[in-house]
């Protein structure tokens, strides 16, 4: 593909995607990674449960968790 083959309008649209590069150190810092992970946007779990979970599922949830944790008793 040659850039000249692209229509001007598409050119403009593609050029709109500009990026500011943050300061990135070469060395990996564990604390930075944990911070990135913690501050990554997350959905409120309550929204998920309120939309997807029926009362029966909510009632069964602790039982399933208990059942799944049984193997840990033998570790």
């Amino acid at each position: 593909m040659n850039k000249h083959d692209i229509p001007d309008e598409l050119h403009q649209k593609l050029d709109e995607f500009e990026i500011e590069v943050p300061e990135i150190p070469l060395k990996k810092s564990l604390s930075q990674r944990i911070a990135n992970w913690l501050y990554a946007p997350a959905k409120n779990p309550v929204d998920y449960f309120s939309k997807q979970w029926t009362p029966l599922k909510i009632a069964l949830f602790p039982i399933i968790i208990l059942f799944l944790s049984i193997p840990f008793l033998f570790i």
Partner: protein
Amino acid sequence: MSSNDPIQIENLFNTYHQQIYQFTYRYTQDEALSYDIVQDTFIKFQKYADDFDPTKSHIRTFLFRIAYQLTITKLKRQNKFKKLLPFLYEQHQEEPVSLEEKLTIRTALQQLKHEHRSVIIFSYYHDLSQKEIADILQIPIGTVKSRLHTSLRQLKHLLEVDDNE
């Protein structure tokens, strides 16, 4: 190339880390993930620098290949987590997108298939040749050509760009 030369690694990092971040960010649109991939690319490069043959490819191509593979691996891992713990992730697709937003390049790129998105980003934003893209993605040049053609056609369609300019 010596993988244990810290000055050389630092020079490479200073030269290429912005390009790698820009590619990863345009591809994933995830700031934290792109940040991690830039650092991981150079860590992996130090590990595999001896595999780099300057007679066969450019160092930029080699670094992009590492970054691309890391991106794919991390996205696959992220998708697995999303399936296991969906309530921890934002579900953008459920939110209605306005027409204005639909016509932005960010949204349009996200709507392209992964394989089409990568070729258009490498070709347009990084001025890589079809051969270089083929080297990075490890696919034949013919496939790069057809993917470029398809991605351009789809972008024109998604962004409602007139074809007859």
